[in-house]
């Protein structure tokens, strides 16, 4: 009888223990885009699994479908994602539509300070309304649009001599947008090692955000502004300013005279392909890809170098990157917040950078050894000092689609003038803000 009681107690104890552990341990799903940093995050998250007892699942969506898929998920109140690393533009909609959990109380309770993260990233990835201390995300992945080039080609004596003869300058990393174009035009159609190569691959994609991210990389250095007065939605004279027109004309000239044939709808993937296949001397892309590019056995290592988006009238880079948010529809918010707390730890942030993620934590960025920790680290810091982002309004998708259309119509389809394209863009955006009741 005693042994039966003991066995029963043991069974009950085991059952209770297993119930307790299943009640606490959650299977969290983190949603993000499918790219190199996401793979690094999988590696990093193993440590969280060991520490917390939670398990991590990942839902990575290819970039061209990322916004569609994730925004549909949020808009339908889906429970697929407990944690979402969403684009900076989504923060307004995420906050106003109640998709993201507001994190202020959690940050206060856990002693997580936003001043520990780079100001530009906190402003861009976390706050809504912009610049207010209302946080809906923790900066997860700092990013900006930058450039890389064939260092081995730039170092060749024959090419250097030809460049000097053609331009009167030494072939080196460009210090302005116009120098950038000059170098790209020099390489356009040039024969190197028996193969015809081209100047640079730039973003021209129509479907999602590609051409907007590419063109703004020219617009910002020319001094482009979305509004005459921040917060006023007064765009006429800012969006279509003479500087903006000049920058847009510059981008069109770049597209027409210094890119490979057929690059009419190219974004991240096409840019990487063009560079890795040895087609182009230079390419624009997000810093997030730079660790992978440097590690590439064919065109990486000694053959590649990096530079920040060159200035023109001022320094300016297009902001990429994302913050990590807790999805309001998740049933596992406590566990998801645990992940955020773990991720905010300076030691984890340091490992994040080591694995190929771009930490926005000041302890990583301000480390004296940071600039030398990777060939692109210094450029990343410089870029993040002058980043600008697209509208982060709840209606950002309408604003973005309008810009995609107007830019592609002018740059790729060769319709109208730059002035007309930007004037029409102001009209489109005005209509959107009128519908939103902001004008």
């Amino acid at each position: 009888m005693k042994s039966i009681k003991l066995a029963s107690a043991s069974v009950l104890g085991l059952a209770a223990a297993s119930f307790a552990s299943t009640a606490q341990a959650e299977d969290l799903t983190l949603c993000w885009a499918a790219w190199d940093p996401a793979n690094a995050l999988v590696e990093l998250s193993k440590e969280f699994e060991e520490q917390s007892g939670h398990t991590m699942s990942f839902e990575f969506i290819p970039w061209p479908n990322f916004a569609d898929r994730m925004l549909n998920e949020l808009n339908s109140g889906g429970k697929l994602c407990d944690l979402l690393i969403g684009d900076s533009q989504w923060i307004g909609g995420g906050a106003e539509n109640g998709h993201y959990v507001k994190l202020n109380d959690f940050f206060d309770a856990e002693g997580i300070s936003m001043s520990d993260f780079a100001d530009a990233t906190v402003y861009a990835y976390s706050t809504w309304p912009k610049g207010t201390p209302n946080y809906y995300a923790l900066p997860a992945m700092g990013d900006a649009n930058g450039w890389f080039y064939r260092k081995d080609w730039f170092a060749r004596d024959d090419i250097r001599a030809a460049f000097k003869e053609a331009t009167g300058r030494e072939l080196a990393e460009p210090t302005s947008q116009k120098e950038l174009l000059e170098i790209a035009q020099f390489f356009q159609g040039r024969e190197i090692d028996g193969k015809t190569v081209y100047g640079a691959s730039i973003f021209t994609e129509r479907g999602s955000e590609g051409i907007t991210m590419g063109v703004t990389s020219a617009l910002y250095p020319w001094g482009f502004k979305y509004e005459n007065t921040p917060g006023s939605y007064d765009m006429d004279g800012a969006v279509n300013s003479p500087e903006a027109v000049e920058a847009l004309e510059f981008y069109k000239e770049f597209y027409e005279t210094a890119t490979p044939p057929g690059y009419t709808n190219s974004y991240m993937g096409e840019s990487l392909d063009a560079f890795k296949s040895g087609q182009v001397a230079m390419a624009m892309n997000w810093f997030a890809f730079f660790p992978g590019l440097y590690a590439d056995p064919n065109t990486g290592g000694e053959k590649i170098d990096f530079f920040v988006n060159p200035p023109q009238n001022q320094a300016g880079s297009t902001l990429g990157g994302q913050g990590i948010s807790v999805v309001a529809y998740s049933d596992k918010q406590d566990a998801a917040l645990e992940y955020i707390k773990w991720f905010a730890d300076p030691e984890v942030q340091a490992k994040w950078w080591d694995l190929g993620g771009y930490s926005a934590h000041n302890s990583v960025l301000n480390d004296p050894g940071f600039k030398d920790s990777a060939p692109f680290a210094g450029d990343f810091l410089e870029a993040m000092g002058s980043v600008q982002d697209f509208w982060q309004e709840p209606a950002y998708a309408e604003l973005l689609i309008a810009m995609q259309k107007r830019l592609h119509d002018y740059v790729v389809a060769d319709q109208g003038t730059a002035q007309e394209a930007l004037d029409l863009l102001v009209e489109d955006w005005t209509e959107v803000f009128e519908d939103e009741g902001k004008l």
């Binding site: 549909n72 539509n97 129509r206 057929g262 998708a397 689609i401 259309k405 119509d409």
Partner: protein, 315 residues
């Protein structure tokens, strides 16, 4: 009482069968069988249509559930009908529809005419020709995207070889002039076999004795073609046009894969534009009005067409 088929059938039918089954009338049994279908039709087709009409007069956005929904009257309709960009999309759709149907009917009928001749390997050729329409439009789009690639694409290489032009000197998908044609080519490649099959069915339905009678009357082959073949295949051809017209009016996947609506908005068909409005911009009310306008257009055109088709069949 005359012994007609109807009276014979009536006599053979056991009287009041339904009432023998638990006292249910014929009418009640009919409703039991038809009712679920009618309910499903109402739930899946009619209710959404009425709801869409209702939404089309509002500023509702499906991604902004908490936002106040206002009745905006006919504003959505007015904006759509006065938007020059939408008219350009309509033009692009009309261009795509006209030329795809034109080429598919022309080539499809020609192929059917040739295949209908009895020759060795007839069935094998039919199978080969029919293969493209069995592929997924998304796969076909990606496949042709590579073929159209200016630097490595086979299409450009072949055109370059035949014309002596540099293959990388023209861009089928990137040129405003060529992009609409690049889509017409792919759609024609993919769906001509469908038209061919319908025409083949039509050709094979013509009894041989009609041609034999024409031969006896010494009618020329050309005369036989225009007075026998064409009129008898015409209802089939018109059916093929109806099917292809409806399909191509809502064409989406193939074009998205090939051009994404570009360059600029050159190949942005109404279906792509509508999807952008509804599920990218989330202007649900506006998109509902857009959908209603397209529905009325297609319904109107299809009704006129079906009337014409019935007249042809009655001849």
């Amino acid at each position: 009482m005359s012994d007609t088929p109807a009276t014979r059938a009536a006599a053979a039918t056991p009287p009041r069968v339904a009432r023998k089954i638990k006292g249910l009338s014929d009418r009640a049994i009919a409703w039991i069988f038809v009712g679920p279908t009618i309910f499903l039709l109402l739930a899946i087709n009619i209710f959404p249509l009425i709801w869409t009409i209702n939404l089309s007069f509002t500023n509702f956005k499906a991604n902004r559930i908490g936002r106040e929904v206002k009745n905006v009257g006919l504003r959505n309709y007015e904006r759509i009908l006065t938007d020059s960009d939408i008219w350009l999309n309509m033009q692009a759709t009309a261009h795509f529809l006209f030329w795809t149907i034109f080429f598919q009917v022309l080539i499809g009928f020609t192929l059917a005419y040739l295949i209908n001749k009895k020759f060795k390997g007839n069935d094998l050729w039919t199978t080969i020709i029919v293969l493209p329409m069995m592929l997924s439009p998304a796969v076909v789009g990606n496949f042709w995207k590579f073929l159209y690639q200016p630097q490595i694409g086979l299409f450009n290489y072949v055109v370059g070889f035949l014309t002596g032009r540099d293959p990388s000197s023209f861009e089928m998908l990137g040129s405003v002039e060529l992009a609409p044609w690049s889509i017409v080519i792919v759609d024609t490649w993919m769906w001509t076999p469908f038209v061919m099959l319908i025409c083949l069915a039509g050709l094979r339905s013509i009894p041989d004795y009609i041609y034999e009678a024409a031969e006896v009357d010494r009618a020329s082959k050309l005369r036989q073609f225009f007075t026998i073949t064409i009129p008898m295949v015409l209802p089939f051809l018109m059916l093929a046009i109806l099917f292809r017209g409806i399909e191509n009016f809502k064409m989406f996947d193939l074009v998205v894969q090939l051009t994404g609506g570009g360059p600029g908005s050159t190949t942005e068909l109404t279906s792509i534009n509508l999807k952008r409005e509804a599920f990218e911009k989330w202007r649900t009310g506006y998109a509902s009005a857009y959908a209603i306008i397209l529905f009325v257009t297609v319904f109107g055109l299809a009704s006129i067409y079906v009337k014409a088709l019935n007249k042809v069949k009655e001849r």
